[in-house]
Symmetry: none
Subunit: 199 residues, 2 copies
Amino acid sequence: MKLTRRQQEIYEYLRDNADAFDHPPSYDELCRVLGLSSRGSLHKHIQALIQAGVVEPMDGMHRGIRLAEPGPAEEGIPFLGTIAAGRPIEALPQPEYMQVPPELLGNRPSYVLRVRGDSMIEEGILDGDYVVIEQRDSAANHEIVVALIGNEEATLKRIEQQPGKVILHPANAAMSPMVYAPGEVKIQGVLVGLLRSYR
Amino acid sequence: MKLTRRQQEIYEYLRDNADAFDHPPSYDELCRVLGLSSRGSLHKHIQALIQAGVVEPMDGMHRGIRLAEPGPAEEGIPFLGTIAAGRPIEALPQPEYMQVPPELLGNRPSYVLRVRGDSMIEEGILDGDYVVIEQRDSAANHEIVVALIGNEEATLKRIEQQPGKVILHPANAAMSPMVYAPGEVKIQGVLVGLLRSYR
DNA sequence: AGAATAGAGAACAAAGGGAGAACAAATCAA
DNA sequence: TTGATTTGTTCTCCCTTTGTTCTCTATTCT
């Protein structure tokens, strides 16, 4: 859907000043600041923006326009931080967004982590690679997952779930598989894609 | 369809200044900047350009001329085909386009190839991976390049250029480096990025 | 001369953008 | 709770901008 000039203006204002409002702005407030004197006119534009999918209404509520997913839609999926085997995920203070080829993505929410370490080097996952993770709390056997161990350490490993135990397999001859009780391991997501930059 | 002088002029203006407009320009704006004083005259030219297929209308909308060929610009960079060590690049009948994260790209034109074979497996480049190649005809030593050998075979290897000879190093213990005369090897591009899908 | 190209200008329909009144649902004040 | 107020919605009416279609004229090329 294509926006007209005014619609674009209004959308940009909404986007750029989203933080300036303590609460979602009312139509009257928006009218004042946009130089309109009729709520009716504004309403037409907002409806067009909703139609275009760049803004979403908060049903049946006053003061309810909200930006539609400014991140996922235009900026890509969130890049959350670094994962290094045996340590907590080192989160960025505020997530950046990364444009990932849609071929790598499915329907579920996904995010990107940077890999630190060589524990999966024999699977072609190198130090510094970016991995695309699909958010899930369960996985099929032998998928590569982001697993949280004991609510502390996070790690990227191939998972093997057996009755009564969970084995996490590194892909590095210098390291050994680790065995845990099912309750100790929480699956955070499944590896669906990989990006590497040689620059 | 062949363009007349003026049509060519107008098309070139549209093409070269596409970014200068925050939104598609109106006929009046174009008239002013092209030195016309009649929208009717412009309209004739635009119609001719649409007929010629170099520009496309945005139906039923005001402010609606848009440059044609949304392919390369919006859809990403071309995915040309498959590269398998020791064979010519297997080109697609018509290139598809792939959206690649801008982080992986530089300023030069680039393209995507799919890797077939395990010759670079120890560098973390697996069978089925997509590699992003920056078009160049020379490379720094020890970069990974797409090289054309004797105008026939194409291959993805780490390059070592010495006085009087060129060595292409696979990253697979089962394979040996190949030595060529400098004239035999043509560099087609340099590896700058990698994409992998686990689906 | 005739055809193709280029432009001017008038007239027009549709889209864009806005004003304001009237209404109903949500919210707030007492 | 009740009434007043705010807020989102719907509607009708208006003007401007914009693309389109004409007709008419001037220039260039064969």
